[in-house]
């Protein structure tokens, strides 16, 4: 082992210690949770120990109940997400390429965008009733805007130098669009898709909680009324894992679709 090998391994030690410290913190907090519940430090019926939550999670998964609920929520969410994103990309491309259309449509979009999603649920109940159609619609509605805005930005912010390059090489309009504008806009579009995915899950849950009849959000609210903390916490845990997995999935997808784009 050369001197530089030894010294570089020694340098790695503090880095390992640091990475471990974060995990140690999480473990310590979980231990605190467990202890506080078992030892009765917290005076509440609704504070189950972490192990009880894990047990409920295991039961829920094995019995198929949690996967079914999750599947329900995710399924309708993805349908809405796909619809809203597709619409956002389509309109975004149109608006990005036509400044006039942009000027016409922009104030409309800017008026609708700041409305809190939760607020349009009650009117939608009137039209679509409580249930799955509402879920799809509201997820689509909320997915639409970030994708739209990012797509417009991606199309418009294409480097002017690249555009001039296309002109000096006398590329046709269709070719410029295909070879330059679209690929150039892809990173921004993906950023919008990522943002929308995060929002989509939250919105689906809100829809289920306020006006739902199925899915994991609805289950959580029901568990609250039934005062059953352990299954409820288990469902939340399940949801958080799903959210994490979705995020990783789209990052992986982005990497394969855009290998040339360095992460900022």
């Amino acid at each position: 082992m050369t001197a530089s090998h030894i010294s570089s391994s020694l340098r790695v030690l503090p880095r390992l210690a640091r990475a471990a410290s974060g995990i140690a913190l999480v473990i310590a907090l979980l231990a605190l949770w467990e202890a506080s519940a078992r030892l009765g430090w917290v005076d509440s019926l609704n504070w189950p120990p972490f192990t009880a939550v894990l047990a409920a999670l295991r039961d829920g998964l094995w019995s198929g109940e949690l996967p079914a609920l999750l599947g329900n929520t995710l399924g309708y969410m993805l349908v809405g997400y796909a619809a809203g994103s597709a619409a956002g990309i389509a309109l975004g491309l149109l608006l990005g390429l036509s400044p006039l259309l942009m000027r016409i449509v922009s104030p409309l979009v800017e008026t609708l965008r700041p409305i809190p999603i939760s607020a349009i649920v009650p009117p939608l109940i009137l039209f679509l009733g409580v249930g799955d159609a509402l879920k799809i619609f509201i997820v689509a509605f909320s997915s639409f805007f970030p994708v739209l805005i990012n797509t417009v930005a991606g199309v418009r912010d294409g480097s002017p130098v690249l555009r001039q390059t296309a002109r000096t090489l006398r590329l046709s309009r269709a070719a410029t669009l295909r070879k330059l504008v679209l690929p150039g806009a892809l990173p921004a579009i993906f950023a919008g898709l990522r943002t929308s995915l995060g929002i989509a899950l939250v919105v689906a849950i809100i829809a289920e909680m306020v006006a739902g009849a199925s899915g994991i959000g609805y289950f959580i609210v029901q568990a609250q009324y039934a005062m059953q903390p352990a299954p409820m916490y288990a469902a939340v845990l399940c949801l958080s894992l799903a959210g994490y997995a979705l995020n990783r999935a789209i990052l992986r997808f982005e990497k394969t679709a855009l290998p040339w784009h360095g992460r900022a």
């Binding site: 640091r18 990475a19 410290s21 974060g22 995990i23 913190l25 999480v26 907090l29 509440s44 609704n46 504070w47 006039l100 000027r103 016409i104 449509v105 922009s106 104030p107 409309l108 008026t111 965008r113 700041p114 409305i115 809190p116 999603i117 939760s118 607020a119 349009i120 649920v121 009650p122 009117p123 109940i125 009137l126 039209f127 899950l201 939250v202 849950i205 809100i206 909680m209 306020v210 994991i216 959000g217 959580i220 609210v221 568990a223 609250q224 005062m227 903390p229 409820m232 916490y233 469902a235 939340v236 949801l239 958080s240 894992l241 959210g243 994490y244 995020n247 900022a264």
Partner: protein, 256 residues
């Protein structure tokens, strides 16, 4: 910008909005729209005027806004403080990152029922929820902003021998401010949304509660009136934020 250019810029869009409203009104009057589902704008406006006349406009707005503002400010303060610490120090970042990455993917509305169950249904719980939700976008963006400060700027601070405090206050924070502002903008929308959800689930007053309550009581016109109020609230908050952002960061437009 000249008068003519201002008009050219805003006229098509304003006409579009006006057009939509006019079409809505005509459809409503003509009987195409079911008034029990979607009353005409004039009806909604009249209902709103009634509400104002009854002095019933201010209290729910005040309630909702107070809750939102308190939670939002606390979340921003905490998010920026921790964000700077995590952005500047690898040790702090490594310590906090797993915990943050664990809590972040949880859809915050899903935490409302557990928190209601555990902390009870009340103002403090609702405040806690708003803080929890608004905290993360600010934190994440602050960390990114601090870490993304141009190394040339940091080296400039070093070669001019600025103290650590001066470096953070005079170089790091201003440089990170655009990203922090983005996080704060996202959090603003999130805070409002979550206050409304919390009110709908277990509130007793406030704009969100009223919207759901009116729907359940089939007072459709009032529901839409309060919806318009909430939409305007969202618009105003957003506009105010963007105005403040432009004033605080005039140099942002000129960054390459």
């Amino acid at each position: 910008m000249s008068r003519a250019r201002l008009v050219e810029r805003w006229l098509p869009g304003t006409l579009a909005v006006a057009g939509v409203l006019a079409a809505w009104e005509l459809l409503g009057r003509g009987g195409t729209l079911n008034p029990a589902l979607l009353p005409a704008p004039s009806v909604v406006l009249a209902t709103l005027v009634d509400v104002v006349r009854d002095d019933a406009l201010a209290p729910p707005i005040a309630r909702t806004l107070a809750l939102m503002a308190t939670g939002y400010l606390i979340a921003c303060a905490c998010g920026i403080a921790l964000g700077v610490a995590m952005g500047r120090s690898e040790a702090v970042h490594a310590l906090m990152e797993p915990l943050v990455e664990l809590v972040r993917p949880i859809p915050k509305p899903a935490l409302i029922p557990p928190l209601f169950l555990f902390l009870g249904i009340g103002l403090q719980t609702m405040l806690f929820i708003v803080v929890l939700a608004a905290f993360f976008p600010v934190l994440i963006n602050t960390v990114q902003g601090v870490r993304g400060v141009d190394p040339v700027l940091l080296d400039t601070a070093r070669t001019l021998r600025l103290s650590r405090r001066a470096t953070v206050l005079r170089v790091v924070l201003p440089a990170a401010l655009p990203m922090v502002a983005t996080g704060m903008r996202v959090s603003l929308g999130l805070a409002l949304t979550l206050v409304v959800v919390a009110e709908m689930l277990a509130g007793e007053n406030g704009v969100g509660f009223l919207i759901l309550d009116m729907q359940r009581a089939f007072q459709i016109q009032k529901m839409y009136a309060w919806l318009v109020v909430l939409a305007l609230l969202g618009l105003l908050l957003n506009g105010a934020f963007e105005w403040a952002e432009r004033r605080a960061l005039p140099w942002r437009a000129h960054l390459s």
